[in-house]
C-alpha cells in the first residue's frame, strides 16, 4: 500500500520535473553567452570521515581432527579417528563437542577358541560422541631448542555423551587431559588422553568399562 503511494508520488514529481526542464531550456540558451563567474557560496573543505569501522576478527571457535589409539575394554586396542569442535568461552573455559570412531578387535576368548564370534562384523564399530567442558589449567610456553618457543597449555576435560557399540548405545562419561601447542596464530596441535566410561552387560555381567584413548590432533581457530 505504502510503496504504491510512493510510486505515485515519484511519477508525479518526474512529470513535474520534466515540465520545469522544458520551460527552462529556452532561458538557458539565452544566458549562454554571459561569463560564468558564479562560485559556490560555501566551499566545504571538511573531509568526510569514514564511519565504517573495520571489524576485529574474533576467533573463538576451534575445529579439529585427531587420530590415535583406543583400548576398548575386552576387545583389544585399535586405531581411532575423530573430529572436535570447541568454543572458547573465556581464556580458561571452553566447551567442546567430540565425535570419534573405531572398529573394536576380538576378545581373548574369541582368539583362543578360534571359531567363536561374539559380535557380528557391523557391531564391532565403536562410535562415541561427547559434549565436554574444558579448562586451561597451565598456560605457558614450550621451548624447542634455545630460540624457539610455542605457546601451550595443559587442559582438563570432563564430559558426557554416548557410545554406540555392539548394537547398543550407552550413556558415557568421559574425562581426561590434553596438551595444546599453538603452532601459529590459527593452528594448534593437540595431544590428548581420555577415558570413556560406561556400564554394559555385553559379556553377561553388568560392569563398568573403561576405554582409554591416546590421540594426537590438529585444530584450526576461526
Amino acid at each position: 500500500m505504502e510503496s504504491g503511494f510512493r510510486l505515485l508520488l515519484l511519477n508525479l514529481s518526474a512529470v513535474l520535473g520534466l515540465a520545469v526542464l522544458a520551460s527552462g531550456c529556452s532561458r538557458v540558451v539565452d544566458t549562454l553567452d554571459e561569463p560564468v563567474t558564479a562560485e559556490p557560496v560555501i566551499d566545504p573543505r571538511v573531509e568526510r570521515r569514514d564511519v565504517r569501522r573495520p571489524k576485529i576478527d574474533t576467533e573463538n571457535f576451534e575445529l579439529g581432527a585427531y587420530t590415535g589409539f583406543i583400548s576398548v575394554e575386552d576387545f583389544g586396542s585399535s586405531t581411532v579417528a575423530g573430529a572436535r569442535l570447541a568454543y572458547h568461552i573465556t581464556e580458561g573455559l571452553f566447551a567442546e563437542a567430540t565425535y570419534g570412531q573405531t572398529t573394536a578387535g576380538r576378545t581373548s576368548f574369541e582368539t583362543l577358541s578360534g571359531a567363536v564370534e561374539l559380535l557380528a562384523p557391523g557391531e564391532r564399530k565403536f562410535r562415541y560422541y561427547d559434549l565436554s567442558l574444558g579448562y586451561n589449567l597451565f598456560p605457558g610456553e614450550t621451548f624447542i631448542g634455545r630460540n624457539r618457543a610455542f605457546t601451550s597449555s595443559l587442559y582438563l576435560l570432563l564430559g558426557a555423551g554416548s557410545t554406540d557399540f555392539a548394537g547398543d548405545s550407552r550413556f558415557t562419561i568421559s574425562f581426561g587431559a590434553g596438551y595444546r601447542v599453538l603452532l601459529n596464530d590459527w593452528l594448534s596441535a593437540h595431544l590428548m588422553v581420555r577415558d570413556h566410561v560406561f556400564r554394559t552387560d555385553l559379556l553377561g555381567e553388568d560392569k563398568t568399562v573403561h576405554n582409554i584413548e591416546f590421540v594426537i590432533g590438529l585444530g584450526w581457530f576461526f
Partner: protein
C-alpha cells in the same frame, strides 16, 4: 541392528553448521583496526591468557594494529612488526587515531538480556534413563525464545533420542535467577537394548510442558535447570507420561 538413523548428534552438527554460517562475520582482510596508546604502555603477552609471559612493551604514542580477538585477548602488531596478545582491559585504555576512545566492553548484563543466539548442554534424568541434551535458542524478544533441541537417552532397558522445538517464555528476564515456562513438541525414538528379547522399536510424537530456572553467571556464561513433563502419543490405546529433570550450562554469542 545397524540401522542408519538420525541421531541427536547429527541434528546437533547440522544446527551448529547452519548457525556458524550466520554468526561468522565476513571480514575485510586489509583494513585493520588501529589504536593509539595513550597510557604509559601496552603489554604484549606471548599467548591469549594472563598466564602467558609478557615479552614486549609498546609505548605511549605508538600505534598498533589489532589483528584478531580470542575471548578477551587481542592479537596486535606494532610498527616494528612485533606481534603479541594484549588484554581487553589494557586495550580499552587506548584511543582510535581519530581520538575517540576504544570501547571493548565484556559481555555485560545488557548483552545478556538482549542476546539473540544461545546454545547449551544439559544433563539429567528422563524417566529413569540418562539424558544428555543440547539446544540452540533464538531470542525473539527478552521474554520469548524458540529453541531447537535434541536429547540422547540411555536407559537400562532401552535407548533412544528426542528431537523437537521448545517455546520458552521468561516473565522476568532481568532477574539474576529467572524462572521460565516452556511448551514444545517433538519426536521420540525408543529402541530396546540389543541384549533383551526382541521388542519393537518405536517412534512417537511427543508434546511437553516445562518449568525451569536460568541464571546469568558471568560474561556470556549461564546456568540452567529445568523440569519437563512429556506426553508420548503412542500408537497404543493410552498415552504415556514421562518426567524429565535436567541441569546444565549455556552461553550466548
Amino acid at each position: 541392528m545397524t540401522v542408519t538413523r538420525l541421531k541427536p548428534l547429527h541434528l546437533l552438527l547440522i544446527t551448529a553448521a547452519v548457525f556458524l554460517h550466520f554468526v561468522t562475520p565476513v571480514q575485510a582482510r586489509d583494513a585493520h583496526y588501529v589504536v593509539e596508546i595513550v597510557e604509559a604502555f601496552l603489554e604484549l603477552h606471548s599467548g591469549p591468557g594472563r598466564g602467558y609471559p609478557r615479552f614486549h612493551i609498546a609505548e605511549r604514542g605508538e600505534r598498533v594494529e589489532v589483528l584478531s580477538r580470542r575471548t578477551d585477548w587481542f592479537r596486535v602488531r606494532t610498527k616494528q612488526g612485533v606481534e603479541g596478545w594484549a588484554s581487553r582491559a589494557q586495550l580499552s585504555q587506548t584511543v582510535r587515531p581519530s581520538g575517540e576512545p576504544v570501547t571493548i566492553a565484556p559481555p555485560s548484563r545488557l548483552d545478556y538480556l538482549d542476546r539473540r543466539i544461545e546454545g547449551g548442554v544439559l544433563l539429567g534424568d528422563f524417566g529413569g534413563a540418562d539424558a544428555l541434551s543440547a539446544y540452540v535458542a533464538w531470542h525473539a524478544t527478552r521474554n520469548l525464545s524458540l529453541e531447537l533441541g535434541g536429547a540422547d537417552l540411555n536407559g537400562r532397558f532401552s535407548s533412544g533420542w528426542w528431537a523437537g522445538l521448545n517455546l520458552v517464555h521468561q516473565p522476568w528476564p532481568e532477574w539474576r535467577v529467572s524462572p521460565f515456562l516452556a511448551l514444545g513438541t517433538g519426536v521420540i525414538r525408543i529402541e530396546p537394548r540389543a541384549t533383551l528379547v526382541d521388542v519393537e522399536d518405536r517412534t512417537d510424537q511427543v508434546g511437553h510442558a516445562g518449568l525451569g530456572l536460568r541464571m546469568h553467571v558471568t560474561r556470556n556464561f549461564m546456568l540452567r535447570a529445568e523440569y519437563r513433563r512429556y506426553v508420548v502419543f503412542t500408537s497404543r490405546d493410552e498415552n504415556e507420561d514421562v518426567n524429565e529433570w535436567k541441569a546444565g550450562f549455556g552461553f550466548f554469542f
